[in-house]
Symmetry: D2
Subunit: 424 residues, 4 copies
């Protein structure tokens, strides 16, 4: 963890300016009838989970270029995740991936407590073969033609639930890469039936207070068809499974040009929005840092979430899911968590009564202007003050760099050779 003095020193340096900026922003918001402290309180209460696998350097099918101090396993990863939360105060939970993060649950709980974290949704992995695995997932898992392979995948998911229960998690996220690379390779209908049947077996194993999230993705690793290819199929699945099943939206998993915020709205309407994997993308499932490519789109998603926030039972899960190929993963995750907070804060500034009135009057220019007015507002002082109030860093990236954390862990953790596979 980062030394508290380092945080304090950084904050001391920035404190006066922050106070001034918070004050003048408050003044401007006041003119718009918005109380800055109330916004700050909501931002302070907001958290986005981080994925355990996100703290390692990611890669592509072509190469992976590890950095210094790559985490050796889940306990190193939890250390790194702890630092992210320590500095930002924005990432109170971590999401585990099995079997990558397999360890004694008691040890995991102890370590998480030590670094100030809880456990978010569990993630199963049936898109890779593990050493010694009986049946290969080369041709699919939950939707495979072969029944024994499907059964193996079901059991792995049930294991994830069991382990998650021991950790205090309350949800399972299923993403499969099942699909096909050639027209004709699979029968779309029969493959989907098999997926539904297998997933129903997993669903049957859910504790009463758990949720099951299924995740759609247009393509990759399958390049002609994917069994859960879009939100339409995802909705059919959640409807088929039952009330504990919900759809997960990863911002990078859609066709080009698709209006994602509208999909969010439709899933809200259907009562099936389960949550998010936040990231950004320009081309495909690029897994870039959240808000780095199209920050207005991220804001528009949060505009839907804030709009729906008071609906009964509305409680989507928020998580980052990125691949950090050219940055220090801890820096990217801190930066991204703050981008998510920023989008949330800006969405809170939207004049919703004015917006409704403009919409009802078909005053398109005024309506869009209200969104733009919120988006234009530089809410950084609100985020920074929320952090400062919690004892976190006013400027987490600068503080992290000043603390020399990466160099310290690089001294303890052995260097990793380049060239191995993409995401683990």
């Amino acid at each position: 963890m980062i030394d508290k003095d380092t945080i304090a020193a950084g904050n001391a340096h920035a404190d006066a300016d922050l106070a001034r900026d918070y004050e003048t922003l408050g003044e401007r918001l006041d003119r718009r009838g918005i109380g800055i402290d109330a916004i700050k309180a909501k931002v302070a209460a907001y958290g986005v989970a981080v994925p355990s696998w996100g703290v390692g350097t990611g890669g592509t099918r072509f190469a992976r270029f590890p950095g210094g101090g790559e985490p050796r396993g889940i306990f190193d990863k939890l250390d790194d995740c702890g630092v992210i939360h320590q500095l930002t105060g924005a990432t109170p939970a971590v999401s585990l991936h099995l079997p990558w993060d397999k360890a004694d649950p008691a040890d995991l709980r102890a370590k998480a407590e030590e670094v100030g974290l809880t456990f978010d949704a569990m993630n199963s992995n049936t898109f890779q073969d593990q050493p010694g695995q009986t049946h290969s997932y080369k041709f699919g898992s939950l939707s495979q033609a072969d029944a024994a392979t499907r059964q193996q995948a079901v059991e792995h998911n049930l294991d994830c639930i069991e382990i998650g229960t021991a950790l205090g998690s309350k949800a399972l996220t299923i993403w499969v890469g099942d699909g096909s690379n050639f027209p004709g390779q699979v029968h779309f209908g029969r493959q989907f039936e098999r997926y539904l049947d297998a997933t129903a077996q997993v669903y049957a194993g859910l504790p009463a207070d758990w949720r099951l999230f299924t995740e759609h993705k247009m393509y990759e690793p399958a390049f002609y068809s994917t069994v859960v290819q879009d939100w339409g199929t995802n909705l059919m699945i959640a409807q088929h499974l039952g009330p504990q099943a919900f759809c997960l939206v990863d911002l990078g998993h859609h066709a080009p040009n698709v209006n994602i915020e509208m999909i969010v709205s439709r899933l809200i309407h259907a009562g099936k929005l389960g949550g998010f994997h936040f990231n950004d993308s320009k081309y495909g499932d690029d897994d870039l840092d959240t808000g780095s490519i199209d920050p207005y789109r991220l804001f528009l998603v949060f505009n839907e979430l804030v709009d729906a926030a008071d609906a009964p039972g509305f409680d989507p899960m928020h998580m980052l899911d990125q691949s950090h190929n050219v940055t220090d993963p801890i820096e990217s995750l801190m930066s991204s968590a703050m981008e998510v907070q920023r989008a949330y804060a800006m969405a809170l500034l939207v004049d919703r009564a004015g917006l409704s009135a403009a919409q009802d009057a078909n005053d398109a220019l005024a309506a869009q202007g209200m969104l733009k007015a919120a988006f234009r507002t530089d809410v950084e002082p609100i985020l920074a003050m929320a952090r400062r109030d919690k004892g976190c860093a006013i400027d987490p990236i600068a503080t992290y760099r000043a603390a020399g954390y990466r160099a310290k862990v690089a001294g303890k953790r052995p260097a990793v050779a380049a060239g191995s596979s993409g995401i683990v």
Copy 2:
């Protein structure tokens, strides 16, 4: 209509070669265990509807360049549609668009009978303002914020049902351009609620033996959001409305790269595939001639349809929906109807038992090879022989050109000035 002697003369010229080609193709299919006459019988029984508006030259927002002999109204259009069916034997029904095609139902039935056609689905129009219309659709129709505008749109659709009933139609197709051009212009959720409520009023007016088709489209004329933007929303609508409601798939209405044949499969699985608007596209809703850009994709759609053909109650509607900007519309519609037949004929050749076996064995190369073997087969002799047997033209385009139909109607129908709007 085309003089029968012209048809006979054209056929006489081609007859011997056709007989020879049909014989040698039959021989090759025989080796694959396929009886050519059974395929021909299915192709001969197949029909695809033509849209009344398709026989006029189309255009874009930039310009429209009419040809000679543009139809002056629905009765000219029925003449042109009659010629298409006379020569191809493939387009037994015509689909009307109201109010464009408004006329006395008895006159319409008489004319249709005269030219050998029946009436397919009725199409309502709430994406344009008509002279004297009380409420404008500038900001939408069935989903408008204004209740009176929605009511007007509902009533227009009920009118369409009434007129269609008098014509012997059995279906209403609803496509609306409602959406928005700016983030914030509409509230996605409230707009969708209004759409559902208004459409339910139309649904309530359906006769018991009618079907309601709703059509999704990603964009255009709305350029930020569209209320029925994709098959997921379309499915929610059909589920909301009831058992007579189905989803219509226009091949050009999807996001880039989307796997359309898989959407077809999903809608079949949901029991909600209503039918098709066939055309082709490279960029957006280009409304190009069917099969002109990606004939394999068209084949893959028919591969799904043939696969599902024996499912109980499976009866999707088939129609062409194209914009003919640079060709004689009659030629394009004839050519496209034959392309649809061709895709159907090729799909009938797929070795389904072999395909299933390869799929179950995860033998991707063999499975795709079976589709390719069917697609590679030149089924033109089957199509041509089916036409010849019905007294239609072996080569409809050549016969149509030889008959000089366009020049004849250009002599009777006044020239149309260039530059007016796109699609009517």
Copy 3:
């Protein structure tokens, strides 16, 4: 024009708050080493041209829904453009389209002077047929197979230069829709040769102080191929023609996902960036208001322009080109002109030395953070103060609405029927 008292009244209302916001923003920028007055001076000196056709309500191929007070011709259009510049101070020039805007040059110059405008690039039109035109552009213009049609198109462009010379314009913009709707319809190579030859004839007619801008577009109105489909072809053209030929970039004319700011950089590198048609798009050539869909992308384009600003001879043309289907066109053009200014102002705030250093150090997170810091800054007080200093409106939209301009012109200009074609 708008009454000066109305402007003064609106400004009086907002003046104190603006002064305060400008002051506190100045303070914050000062801490970053940026002098706010210097930024304001650059913003005040910046102008973007408006298109004469932009002040009329636009449409799609499906419909057009005119608003009240549609301009009856070029002199009404110049009135409307004058209002835009009067209130924003950001649009000093107007770009004419021939033959739409044909009138006596002396009258045009007098009217422009009256409303405070000059003339930007001239635009030719060979994508529509005009009444009485000898040869049709149905199958293309400058690249048509028919030589006489090409010649007609060349002469029209030469006319545009002649008229433009009389108006004080210094550039001709050529956009053609030439292309094809079917594979095989045109021979790509021969069509391109014809385009190059015809355009060279136009180029030969350029006065020595004129520039020729050619504009690429992926598709529409041609839906299979377009002769100037992308910047690669556009660059080949500009290289072929000579030193007065440059490439025009319309932000909405690219393939999905394309990195437009990188194209801007490549054209700068080639010395062939001619200028911009600013707008925004989500799907195709949507011609939406600039910055309304992806404001960060607009900023990234200006980041390139500011970066290259000091290169010798660097002088790209800036123009809005939008279709206003659901808003008052005057409001949309004012709002868009200010969005362009905003992107420019934010790009001026980028710490270029710091950015270069981070780039050279491969510090991706720091580098992107510098762009984000600029983009996050709410520069509205700078823009508003620049307007106020010029006697323009602090809040142009509110002032315009308060002035009741639209109602006034609607009283004078007859209502236009709905339903006619898209863009004129």
Copy 4:
């Protein structure tokens, strides 16, 4: 290699049917004025190179699932490539990738001769770090900010030329993944300058009879920008370097919806079309089997190539470049080589005089009909007869399976663990 008796046995089985099909196809072509033997001769003389890395099972960033008998190194790979050519007669050359395929040149030449192959273009690799490498390519290679890294990349390319010269190769293909993952990470202009400078150093090392191919790609492994992102940049590079530099087109490296056959035409016009990496794609750089997704697009590319075939000096390089994740790579490469031949054969059938006439007459329907008539023709008997005449297999896939080659090599080559990286 495959036992000759196995080939003979398979051919004996199919011989009579092939003779009959060749005869009746010849008859049909004869009616169209085409001599089948001349087409067969051209097909027989045609060859497409295979990539050494293509015979190993590929993967994605998520996983790789090796099959049985994975080649252990370049000598096993040459064995596999030899089998492909032995059975198809269509793949006379192999393209090496360094350092993956590094070995003593004399041994490589001897092995190649043994299996009946020659060496096509050499491929350098600066997108991965090799063990012991001094400078990392994490942030790029030929365009890196760091000069020493660029130098290392240049030298590796010069090594490739040296080794290739020893092998009888005549070309070097450079593909780099250099780019950025964040706006701001790189300066587009400076990065491009560095790329041009470094590549010019490689170009300077080319023997007089060599060609240099540079390859563009829209994205992956870089996800915001790529230094050679499209054909426009690629053309600038080839123009910058000189007369021995040409552009390589990989069919899967373009933006969605892009008209690739038109890019081929433009590069032909510029005299800079260097060659192809054939494959197919539905979403991104999917590296699927050639012709498996959109066979008409492949045909349209060959339509351009056949059209330009007689241009002086026109000699593009043809190679397969695919990732075989779910099939036996040998089967996929054989099947793909035949798909390329098929597209070539169909393109040879186009009535070019008729097509030109229809194009000049703006008869779009007739023009496209001529392409479709060629594409509809089942040319399999021509391909099969060309193989048979050479002593290759009439049905290479069936013969390969009958020969049990995969099982045999699986007995000799040790099993490979799943899960390692994507492409090697």
